[in-house]
Symmetry: C2
Subunit: 220 residues, 2 copies
């Protein structure tokens, strides 16, 4: 194994729960009542697909322009709900360890670039790091973002590992032909991540770092 | 089976996620950094026990007076985070069905009475319904609240069923010698609830109502 590809929200940054309430309120304003747990289980796919999914289940639909308005409203509410958008336990240490040991890594997130700048900054991720955002193509569970990251890192899929918190990361990884590791920090249950196809589930980035020798990564 | 005993937050009312962010911010202000998913997995136990648990894991402790201050701060923040505190899908229909078919039911919640009035009102629960609140004794996962509810309903434990969303409800039910049904509406995974000892897990109160004939309740 030569490279790690990380999801961002819920994996490195503690942002799934404010995203959940921001989406729930956005949808409520559009007269879609969606329980918070159901919203939370859809964080990690693109905003567009989230809206389509919960709307279809309720016999509704929104055109592209309406979805863009909802995404803008979500962004606005997210800033109110996320005063504590912080790196998750071990996230900064893990990235620092990888840098020190010259293990290649990148980020692939369904979030749009404008939305994720604060998170990247909080993690100390600079312009040298490969960061693939959702506005560059199809979001998860399509494989595109992970594939783009893997290609920019220049390692074959079989030598990469994806680290994510949601079943969408794991599905997306499988479609990209890359093995996935799940973390519990986005609120999915361990069994949900294994059922999706994760090869291993750790509590958080801190536990992954403590178990880094198990992963078959090449480093000194 | 002659009576149902319901948990409130996450079971009948969509309040677990705002409780999560309100507690996370309260703890953050006390210089305890606890990821949201870890807070969420502790919603349903008493506030006192939540603070003790996450504090002990971080080598901290708070005396009674400090915990009361934290609880007050949580209550204040909760009101900001919960503009959408709504009945969960099927909750009102289920309670209405039980009333129409003269099936006894009650509520047993770790929440304090001052805190839950709005929820009871939103559900249309009046003064005739047995409601046991956390300020009357030891909160979950102690069995006290469920036992008090069962006794007031006047049916033996073997003829009651508890309906809850968290592993704390299920643990508490088992200590009370009462079978438990889990719902996914508080954000726990299905397997987590089965592992805790739930005899059955439904998606939400709506699915429970659709399957009401499976439960062995006596009604016409």
């Amino acid at each position: 194994m030569k490279a790690l590809i990380f999801d961002l929200d819920g994996t490195l940054i503690d942002s799934v729960y404010p995203h959940t309430l921001a989406w729930q309120q956005t949808l409520h304003e559009a007269e879609l009542r969606v329980p918070a747990w159901e919203v939370q289980r859809h964080i990690g796919i693109s905003g567009k697909l989230l809206v389509r999914t919960v709307a279809r289940a309720r016999g509704r639909s929104f055109d592209e322009a309406a979805i863009e308005q909802l995404e803008a409203r979500h962004d606005e509410l997210f800033r109110d709900y996320a005063p504590l958008q912080l790196p998750l336990p071990g996230a900064i240490d893990l990235l620092r360890f990888l840098a020190e040991h010259e293990v290649a890594y990148g980020i692939a997130t369904s979030g749009r670039r404008s939305e994720v700048q604060g998170s990247l900054q909080a993690l100390g991720i600079g312009p040298d790091t490969v960061v693939i955002c959702g506005d560059t193509g199809s979001g998860k569970p399509e494989p595109d973002l992970f594939v783009a990251c893997q290609q920019q890192l220049g390692e074959p899929p079989a030598d990469c590992l994806i680290v994510g918190d949601s079943v969408w990361d794991v599905h997306s990884a499988r479609r990209a032909g890359i093995l996935a590791i799940g973390l519990l920090t986005g609120g999915f249950g361990e069994q949900e991540l294994y059922n999706a196809g994760a090869m291993r589930v750790y509590r958080d980035a801190a536990r992954l770092l403590a178990a880094i020798d198990e992963l078959g990564l090449e480093f000194d």
